[in-house]
Symmetry: none
Subunit: 128 residues, 4 copies
DNA sequence: GTGGTCTAGACCACT
DNA sequence: GTGGTCTAGACCACA
């Protein structure tokens, strides 16, 4: 479970944090296709969270077509072509961006103001 | 209650929707300072939600210093100087922007890509 | 109504603010005995508050023996000897001090710490 | 719920009493960080007050950063460094002290008089 | 009339 | 089990 960190103090539910971080890794191409995801029990133990919580995250990943599960064998990263990967990624991003822009627009912020802020703050954000 | 719309279907709690919309109106300077907010009971009736739910939103507004309430008289818009207003607004925006940029950065999106998307999508968003 | 200022934004009820300020003036000997308090209607008009609110403050002052009212003539400052004045003042102060010290003691603050703070902060307080 | 006592007769609202007593315990370092606060329902039952009233106190504690709550798991004491704890404590105390000193100054009491009273009365106060 | 507080009881998502 | 949200209905102090 490289690069996964769970925080109890976050407002986001744990299964959501797990889902977001793994799907982000997949979409960035950091996980090879047909590679094994850790077994639910293993992941739960390692991250010190409930099995049910891990299962919920895995289910969400499967529902989004990012992984597939084989009974008795485990879960695997889906074999997406670069095209499909790109599409999924783009969809997620655009959907989120529309939500974000709505928030800013409702506060009366102009396009220019937003771009200025992006330029100012982007480098200050520590991705994790 | 001009321009307030509540949706039961939203993921956001009702009190949060109410809080966001009113605080946005205040931060945009659409509501005069020291002017009356509708009485809790009136607002509740008008929006067809519980008194308690309205009160929760009002409490959040008061906690943020955007309104003040006087028992027996009502609730009023705080008289913030333009400076204070601007500061509050800026703080809220920057805080949100940092959160948003973290999300994009975690998906491996570059600064340029974000700006491109902002330019493409900003005009398509309908503020409300 | 010299030196009286009422704030809507205070947590204290208005009648309480009025009571405290007038009783403080009396206890400090700033108002001569047997002198007229302003008529309720006058005070209410001047301070732009409700007659009922003024009446409540006057009643509290009378209950504490600081003023007396004569039907048809008005309200007057009680004729307290210096002794009585001193006693009333001392009682009020000691009662308040015990309450305050309880608060500090419950936070684990020592006598020395309190005295240090009093020395540091006393001059910074603007009495009004 | 060690050392918590609620009085219906007090002028202070119940949730406020609860808030003050628990925050005092936290600020005094009597509760270990990341340790469980009792569940809302448990505390309510034990203290024989409404769940809502307990929740209100817990919310106030969370707003002040003294505890954090995790849905489905419970509420926990924030792990403040000694520095942060000290700062929070100092801020609360100074704020209260300024309020108290204003009261005394308005009655015309000198710094020396206050200190004399503190010395006389401090030991007579029973902290609880 | 107003807001402030307290109550009981319900449903939900999360663990 | 937990906390988060929403509900209806009550009493109080204040203006």
């Amino acid at each position: 479970m490289r690069g996964i960190s769970i925080s109890n103090k976050s407002n986001k539910p744990i299964y959501q944090q797990l889902f977001e971080q793994i799907s982000s890794q997949i979409l960035k191409g950091e996980l090879e296709s047909d590679f094994n995801l850790p077994a639910i029990r293993t992941a739960a133990k390692e991250l010190r969270i409930s099995i049910i919580t891990v299962k919920k995250a895995w289910e969400k990943l499967e529902r989004d077509g990012l992984i597939y599960s084989v009974a008795g064998k485990g879960c695997f990263i889906s074999d997406l072509s670069n095209n499909e990967l790109g599409n999924k990624r783009t969809n997620i991003i655009r959907k989120q961006m529309l939500k974000d822009l709505l928030f800013y627009k409702n506060l009366g912020i102009s396009e220019d103001e937003i771009i200025k802020l992006v330029k100012e703050l982007y480098s200050k954000v520590l991705s994790c």
